[in-house]
Symmetry: C2
Subunit: 197 residues, 2 copies
DNA sequence: TAGACGCATTGATGTAGGATAAGAAATGAA
DNA sequence: TTCATTTCTTATCCTACATCAATGCGTCTA
């Protein structure tokens, strides 16, 4: 599992093999089964999770017991609650495994060590933060104005591969609609001869 | 105008007066009247705007011509399109003045110079980024699940002072509802004897 | 000081999407 | 295989919110 993390990591930074190994020898990795919960709402998020294989998600549960999916993380993605991780405060989020997945656990020691020895790591981290903001802002904008259909079309345009791996009720939860509505939207799209693939 | 920027800036970083002046001597500041547009959708955002007095907002306009307010920036706030600014790409946003406002224009030279000479500036910038993410994520979560009333209550809880300065149709636009609906929500709250202040 | 403009309110009516329920189809476990 | 569980679909009804339209009211301005 560390191999794919190494490939990922070195594609984004300029670390040599030695540098990489000097800071990764303490990293834990683990295979978890479908349904495993990696972070509970209310707990402090001590790790970012790199997915080398499989699929994770983050979500909240509101007062009425409803889940709202915030993010999906397939292969070569990192998922975390950034504010909880950074500010050491209780997380709003759950993170769990949608499929059996292989995870590398990234902790603060690693982040600090990498930031210490590599300018490009710091740059890369900054880029990731700005991408995250861009993505969230776009989502806010869609939620403010777009219809269920527009949001669904946007989703499958951006995550075509994910669409095939994720159950529809989860996509619905990400879009902020019910599974029934998503089913109707899809039916309507099919009627109008729309082909996603 | 630069004075309040200096106070703000030095409260967040450890720059000495000399250091501060060495990097701010090129900063522009300006008073703009109500309604002035500082950034147009499609343009690249070359500045972050520090508000020393007054009130700015950022918003999008969708295909149907509707405005969706993304953010408000009163005194001592900085507003910008971070992704456009950082990645040098066309902005999704407009930024304009809700009131007559005094602005300090922060450009990349300033950011780079400050980052160069001050560790605490870099830290502060990082904190700001993480706060931004936290705020956006919370907003996504509210938009996914909460009713108009819940969102309004959340807004006045977080921005009690702003609520008095901003017209209701703008608050409605921020919340993703129509002014009519907001008016009814307020009426309903009043009936149930809710007092905002 | 009139009128014009922006904003808030209210009412009447429309509609996208939610809730509920029930059956079909897929998946999975034994 | 069979039985169970989860997911998807469909139909009916319902509700939160939008849309449209009219009115009133403050405030700017000419």
């Amino acid at each position: 599992m560390l191999d794919s993390f190494k490939t990922y990591f070195q594609s984004k930074t300029d670390l040599t093999d030695e540098q990489f190994h000097s800071i990764t020898d303490t990293l834990q990795s683990k295979k978890v089964e479908k349904g495993s919960i990696l972070l509970h709402q209310g707990d402090i998020c001590h790790h970012s999770f790199f997915v080398s294989k499989g699929l994770l998600r983050s979500y909240t549960i509101d007062e009425t017991g409803k889940e709202h999916i915030i993010q999906f993380a397939p292969e070569n993605w990192i998922i975390s609650d950034r504010s909880s991780f950074y500010f050491n405060e209780p997380s709003e989020l759950f993170i769990d495994a949608i499929e059996e997945t292989e995870i590398v656990f990234i902790d603060k020691n690693f982040i600090n060590a990498a930031a210490e020895i590599s300018v490009s790591f710091r740059q890369q981290d900054n880029i990731a933060l700005h991408n995250h903001i861009r993505q969230l802002q776009k989502r806010v904008n869609l939620l403010l104005g777009a219809t269920a259909e527009q949001r669904y079309l946007d989703f499958i345009a951006i995550y075509p591969k994910l669409t095939l791996r994720i159950s529809q009720w989860m996509i619905a939860s990400y879009l902020g609609i019910t599974p029934e509505t998503l089913s109707r939207v899809r039916k309507e799209l099919a009627k109008r001869n729309f082909k996603p693939y």
